[in-house]
């Protein structure tokens, strides 16, 4: 049906686009295994020593641990909150939802920058700056709008009959949610988990502001400081960058299908 010319041009488009996107990343990966500190590639002497050097010099063990603790806590919390509030809006209905739902959606349009100033000074007052707990609390609150929106749409898309028959079977509100709806919504929950992991792990702005103490800082902030100090050691910088981005990329490698299909489903639903 498609002409040969068309098929060929399709491949050309795909390959050109992929190379364009990939080139910077691939080049960086090659830099990270080259011994040359100027960043010039030297593929005849590939070594992995840059990774251990970056790990040591960049204080990465410590900051990766910080990122991990913060991210895992935030993901678990955000997911539970999203399931509860999505269930409330999507299935149960909420007193005052005509007011409350738009108010929560508003949060998707509120950028972090707008609320971060009072948050910082308030948190400083109560001793929650330079604290992982403080950062997790902020991530939880900020995750509410998207999580609510996402899980509400998910639950609404489930067939109504399932909930009715659950009610007929005498399942309570709580067990209907956890025994029936959440298992049915597993792909969407997984997507939410992945998105929220990615967003929290990749955060720089909040960590920079709220965790000024180098002892507490996350991997992204440590990496930012590291690249400032090691401008002249490009290969170390590249290695450090790859280490910091690895958890999310690994997750993406593993869950690509779920990840992208989740984005698709969310988009189509709208």
């Amino acid at each position: 049906m498609i002409s040969r010319y068309e098929r060929l041009s399709n491949y050309v488009i795909v390959i050109v686009l992929t190379v364009a996107v990939l080139f910077p990343v691939a080049w960086f990966v090659l830099t990270s295994v080259s011994p040359n500190t100027s960043g010039a590639l030297d593929l005849s002497r590939i070594s992995l020593s840059n990774f251990s050097a970056a790990w040591r010099d960049g204080n990465l063990a410590h900051s990766m641990y910080a990122s991990l603790v913060i991210t895992v806590s935030a993901v678990i919390g955000q997911t539970i909150l999203a399931i509860l509030s999505g269930y409330a809006f999507g299935v149960l209905g909420v007193v005052g939802e005509r007011f409350l739902f738009p108010v929560i959606l508003l949060g998707m349009m509120v950028s972090t920058e707008v609320i971060v100033i009072p948050l910082y000074y308030e948190f400083q007052r109560v001793g929650l700056t330079n604290s992982w707990l403080g950062l997790v609390i902020i991530q939880l609150g900020m995750g509410v709008p998207f999580g609510t929106y996402w899980m509400r749409a998910t639950f609404r898309a489930l067939p109504r009959s399932v909930m009715d028959s659950a009610a007929v079977d005498g399942a309570g509100v709580w067990s209907t949610l956890w025994r029936i709806l959440v298992p049915m919504a597993r792909p969407a929950v997984l997507t939410l988990v992945i998105l929220s992991f990615m967003w929290t792990w990749n955060d720089f702005f909040l960590s920079l502001i709220f965790l000024g103490d180098p002892e507490k800082q996350t991997a992204t902030v440590a990496l930012g400081a590291f690249q400032g100090r090691h401008v002249l050691q490009v290969n170390l910088m590249a290695a450090g960058s790859l280490i910091v981005s690895l958890p999310v990329v690994a997750l993406y490698l593993f869950f690509q299908r779920e990840f992208i299909s989740g984005v698709m489903a969310g988009a189509v639903k709208e």
Partner: protein, 310 residues
């Protein structure tokens, strides 16, 4: 007859009331389920949002007593060239983070839509990768690429375009477009994957019918593909434009707003004003303007999409 109807309606009424009472009870349970999220959201987003507005009427260095300024912080916007610059740069970033990826994503998705490509999953994985990469890492990668001795200049020298080589991020004219290119690079894989997914959801019959009517691919694009992607376009635009407005990591890592003020963004300015050399009131005013801008754009996009609906 009349008696019967009234009896019927009398019998019907308690049942509806019972249902609505049950519904009402369920809606209170709903509120209970919502309450943890709502409380956190209120404390972390809503209250600070109002506080920011309040802060914006004061002059405060973060330590000593704040003094009431009224609208002074906002009025200074017009006089402060840095503010002008920051918000002006956002316009450029919106085009490069939002509109260009939207266009590129549409074109490539339309070209590829009906084609069967081998290894689809693989190229999709790569095209989407910039979305997943830590923004700090993306910034570091590009900072290197744009460096005076970085790969971009090396390539330019290879192909004999030595005259074009420069310190891209240190150049008053080129620093901002160079940053914008990072947005194009990162954004269009996302829009493309989003649109390809949207196109897959369009029923084949529509295209077959159009083919039978003898329409060209161009007409198919305008009459079928584009209108069907309205929802995805709204999502893509809202996400990428909000992304552009929030640009911070990229600028903080690569240029810190320099050279001069050539790449300051509102978020960077806000950060500096709030935490580096505290002028908290002015920082808050920046935040408020940024918020209004975000809101206006989101509402505007929704309106536009609704209009197209009719």
């Amino acid at each position: 007859m009349t008696v019967q109807t009234s009896r019927l309606s009398v019998r019907a009424r308690p049942r509806t009331r019972a249902v609505s009472r049950q519904t009402r009870k369920r809606r209170w349970i709903g509120l209970l389920f919502l309450s943890p999220a709502l409380l956190l959201y209120g404390a972390i987003v809503l209250v600070p949002l109002i506080q920011t507005v309040n802060y914006s009427f004061y002059k405060w260095d973060g330590v000593s007593e704040p003094t009431w300024m009224g609208l002074q912080n906002y009025l200074e916007f017009g006089r402060d060239p840095r503010m002008y610059a920051a918000f002006g740069h956002v316009l450029v970033l919106i085009v490069m983070f939002g509109l260009i990826p939207l266009g590129l994503g549409l074109i490539s998705a339309a070209l590829l839509s009906r084609a069967k490509i081998r290894g689809e999953g693989i190229y999709r994985w790569f095209l989407f990768l910039p979305q997943v990469l830590t923004s700090v890492v993306v910034a570091i990668i590009w900072k290197r690429i744009y460096a005076p001795d970085g790969p971009l200049n090396t390539v330019l020298r290879w192909v004999g375009l030595d005259s074009l080589t420069r310190n891209w991020l240190g150049d008053f004219t080129w620093a901002l477009p160079s940053l914008g290119m990072i947005g194009v690079w990162g954004g269009f894989g996302f829009t493309m994957v989003l649109f390809l997914a949207g196109i897959l959801a369009i029923p084949d019959e529509l295209y077959e019918a159009a083919r039978l009517d003898g329409s060209t691919r161009w007409q198919e694009f305008w009459l079928i593909t584009l209108p069907s992607l309205r929802g995805q376009m709204a999502i893509a635009l809202t996400l990428t434009i909000t992304g552009a407005l929030r640009t911070f990591d990229m600028v903080y890592i690569t240029t810190q707003g320099g050279p001069g003020d050539a790449t300051t963004t509102p978020a960077l300015l806000l950060y500096q004003l709030a935490f580096v050399n505290p002028d908290v009131g002015k920082a808050s005013a920046t935040g408020v303007v940024l918020a209004l801008l975000c809101l206006g754009i989101a509402v505007g996009i929704t309106r536009m999409m609704e209009n197209k609906d009719r």
